[in-house]
Structure formats: C-alpha cells, structure tokens
C-alpha cells in the first residue's frame, strides 16, 4: 500500500529575537523594572531602567506559561549581568499575565498597550489598535496613555495574527513576507467573503486552485482582514493620532489597507510595536515600585 509522507514546512513560524540598548547602563539606574507580556501566540519581556527601555526579548508562547515567562525574561536579561531576582518590580500582562511567577502584579494588555503606545509614539496618541495573536483590540486613550474606552473582537479570530499564520502556511510564504506579497498586485481583488479562519483558508485555497496568483489571493485575504478590523475600529470610534501595536503592526499589507479604508495614517513606530504591551507593563511596574517605596 503506497502512502505519501507528509512534509510540513512551518512558514507561519516567525523568528524569535532579543536586544540590549547598549548606551544604557542598569548599574547607574535607581529603578529596574520589567514587563512580561504572555500572549496567546507570542511572549515578550521588556526590561526598563528608570522607565527607559534597556533590553527585551520576543519568543513564541509555549504550552506552559510559567516556563515561557521565565524563558523570555531570562533571555531578555541574557548577557546584561542582570537576573530576574535583581528586578525591583515586574508586572505581567497578556493572556498568561496571571501565570508569570516572578511578577508582583498583573495588568491587562488593554491598559498596557495604551501605556506602551504612549511611550513608543508619544502623548498625541488617542487611538491604539492592537492586533494580537487571537484578539484584536481597539483602544481610546488620553494624553497620559490612560484607557478611556475599548472594544475587543467578538469570538472569532478572523483578522488576527493567528489567522495570518494559517494563511502564510497555506500559500507557503514566510509570515514576515505575506504582507509585502499582498501589496504586489496592480489591482485589488474582491476580499475573501468568509471571515471564519478555516473557511477563509478553504476559500483562498479554492482561489489558488482556480489559478489565482499567491499575490492576488494574499491581497484578497488581507483586504478581508482589514475590513474586519475596520468594523471594530469604527465601533469604538477613531480619533488622531492613530497607532497600531502588536505583531501584525509589522504587516504592511494590513496596515496600508487599514490606512486606505480609514483615510488616516498610522504613526511610524520608533521601536518594535510588538513590545507595546510589555513596555506598558514595565512602566506600570516602575510606578508601582515607586508607590511601594513611597517615592510617589
């Protein structure tokens, strides 16, 4: 009996990375805090010295969030001479926020993304769109990065990072590339009609088999994704300045389509927007530490 064996090349798997800001020295700092953002797909740790980003790491969330938390935090500290024990205060956020063993407190990614966006993009930010692995959040905030109101996508992951991963796999294009690929069409095809991740995949597959190019299908998929996200944004109401955080913020295919539909430009990120949640948590950690030690 013949049986072809199954190869799985993981186009959805994005690279994990870390970095240290060399021109900063934690030895000279009064307050060393960290924010650990355990998302449903990616986990991020940001270490802050006196409220400035010092080092960070981004990796995929594992099955056991405690372990993931320890791994990502340790990796962020790698080679800095710092260790988890030396951190003054750690705040956990994201899906697994309550499972960060060394965090003194957990705060939702909603509050953290608003605060983090305020740090990354400055006080003019009023609307934050965070496109995460399985959730999509539209947040309205004030000049301090305090949340005024927010909305999350309904119980459907269409228009989230997870959907993109499934799609990248389908058209065998690395996840970091799909956005770019989707833009390389001379004319925008109609969006895939289906929002359910599985059916959108099936629909895209059918299109590919009808002879559509990868680019064209990618465009159709991204367009549908953008439509979904716009629905959410219009519900919460969009006000300038508008920024996008989370992993998908790096997907030009989604971002440019959003900007086209909304007729509003998203601010250029000064640093990796996937860090917004962890940064916000780190900043809250600083505030909490100062509160605890009576410095505020």
């Amino acid at each position: 009996m013949a049986q072809a064996e199954i190869k799985t090349q993981e186009y959805w798997r994005w690279p994990e990375y870390r970095m240290t800001v060399l021109d900063r020295d934690w030895q000279k700092a009064n307050v060393i805090t960290a924010g650990v953002d355990i998302g449903s797909v990616g986990s991020k740790a940001a270490v802050l010295v006196d409220g400035e980003l010092y080092s960070y790491a981004v990796q995929r969330t594992g099955g056991v969030s405690e372990q993931t938390a320890i791994n990502v935090a340790s990796w962020a500290l790698e080679g800095t001479g710092l260790e988890i024990g030396k951190l003054h205060y750690v705040v956990g956020t994201g899906y697994g926020r309550v499972n960060v063993p060394f965090a003194k407190r957990s705060i939702t990614e909603i509050a953290c993304h608003a605060r983090g966006a305020n740090y990354i993009y400055g006080p003019t930010v009023r609307t934050v769109l965070d496109i995460g692995g399985q959730d999509c959040k539209a947040i309205r905030c004030d000049e301090k990065g305090k949340v005024l109101s927010f909305l999350m996508n309904d119980k459907c992951a269409a228009g989230t990072g997870r959907g993109l991963e499934v799609f990248a796999d389908l058209i065998s294009v690395p996840i970091q590339e799909v956005g770019k690929v989707s833009l390389s069409v001379d004319q925008e095809p109609p969006p895939v009609s289906n929002t359910c991740v599985i059916f959108a995949k099936a629909e895209s597959l059918a299109l590919l088999r009808q002879g559509w190019s990868k680019e064209k299908v990618a465009a159709a998929y991204h367009a549908a994704m953008a439509d979904r996200i716009v629905d959410l944004l219009t519900r919460v109401g969009i006000e300038k300045d508008f920024v996008i955080t989370g992993g998908v913020a790096k997907n030009m295919g989604v971002v440019q389509r959003l900007e086209r539909i909304l007729k509003i430009k998203a601010l250029e990120p000064k640093m990796d927007p996937i860090l917004a949640g962890a940064l916000g948590a780190g900043l809250f950690a600083k505030a909490l530490y100062e509160k605890e030690t009576g410095q505020r």
């Binding site: 013949a2 072809a4 056991v64 309550v98 399985q134 099936a202 590919l208």
Partner: protein, 261 residues
Amino acid sequence: MITAGVDVGAKFAKVVILRDGQVIARAKALVGLDLLKSASDVFETALKDAGISRSDIQRVVATGMGGNAILQKPPINADQVVSVVVAGAAGVYHAVPTAKTVIDVGAEEGRGIKVEGGKVRDFVINERCAAGAGTFIEAMARALEVKVEDLGPLSLKSMNTIPMNAQCCVFAESEVVSLIHSKISKEDISRAIHDAIAGRISSMVLRIGVEKDVVLIGGCALNPGFIPPLEKELHTSIIVPEFPEYIGALGAAVIAANPLR
C-alpha cells in the same frame, strides 16, 4: 471487471482500484494546488501497486471536493463525477452492508448520511462553521503543541470532562489556550476537544436520526479519541471499517462498476 474510484478531498487524494468487487490497490497523498497533478500521481502509484495500466480499467469515477478537476482529463480520464454523499453511501454499502447511518468526517466537512441498501435516503452536511471537522482537530493540536496523531490517544487518558464551546474553531482554540493557562492537563484538554467535536457532529447527525448500524468513515475515523465521546453522545456503538478514509474512493469505484446505479 476492473474499475477505479478517485476521491479528491480537501486535504488528501485517495484512489481505490477494484477487480470484481475486490480491492486490489489503495493509495493516498496530500493534494497540492494542482488537483489534476496530485490526483494523477496518486493514481499512478495505485496502478503500479496493482501492477496494471490505465487501459486495464474499464471505468473511473471521481468524487470529492475536487472531483471535477479530473473529469475526462488525461491521464485519469474519469468517466463520471459523483457527490461525496452518494459515493460515501455506496462505499459503506460495500464495506458494511448492514449500515443504516453513515457519519463521514473529513478535513473540512462533517456529514451524516441515512442509507438504505447503498442508496441515500437523507443527509446533512455541516454548514458555515468548520468546527466538527478534521481541520478543527489540527488547529487544536497546534494550540496544544502536540502532534495531531497524538491528540486522540492523549484524550483517552483523561478522566475529567470540561464543557467546551466549539461553535467556532478558532474561538475554541482560544478556549484551549486559556485552559492551558489555567493549568488544565493536556489530557483533559484533548478530552474536552474531542467531546466538543463529538458534540458538534452528533448534534448534526441527530437531524437525520440515528439508526443502527452506525458507521464512521473519513480521516477522523482514524482518530481513536473521537469514537468514545461520539458513541456516548449518540447512545450507540459505532463501526469503523478497515481503511475508513478510503470509503469515498471505494464507493466511486463501486459506482464505476455498476454504471446503471
């Protein structure tokens, strides 16, 4: 008389070659973007396996999502296309003649078919939501970070039931993630996943009514974790024929052998 059935499914293409009612070859492979090519390759393998050539085969009947792609197209030159429902019924009649109810769970579709002597009396196919289909299991396996084939066995180790809402596949996936984060064991989560999918399938099949014998076919029939909860939901024992994923192709081959059906 030699006939062949080719089932071009959403994930796999399957071929069955029949000589006077006896299966002489089976083959399957993942389908790529080019349906005709994928199907033809599997077809070739099956021919080799049977030690015959296309000209030895009187009739070829195609079925499955991509069946039309090989209709009267070389090298297979299928003579006819029949729907998965009709093929499934015919295949089950050949494999388990006593069957009254057929449950067919493939990659993207779940189906329930009421059969009488190989004829379709009524059927139901899952509509817009893919929960309750093979892809669902795959997505869950990825969320749990276990191999798809391990998920079923894992679930059998669990003693606990956790209600899980499987309306939407990815929604369920998020539930899985939150279960992971709330320290539920992989065994229990796998169990919850299979209970949920069994719930979806059975509630669909109940529409057409469940009459013994109940036969489970399609790729998901290979998943052991799926059968106990399904039997529990439907209050009946379930028969899984040999090579359940080939039943559609078998049915097509059977229909090819009896063109007057």
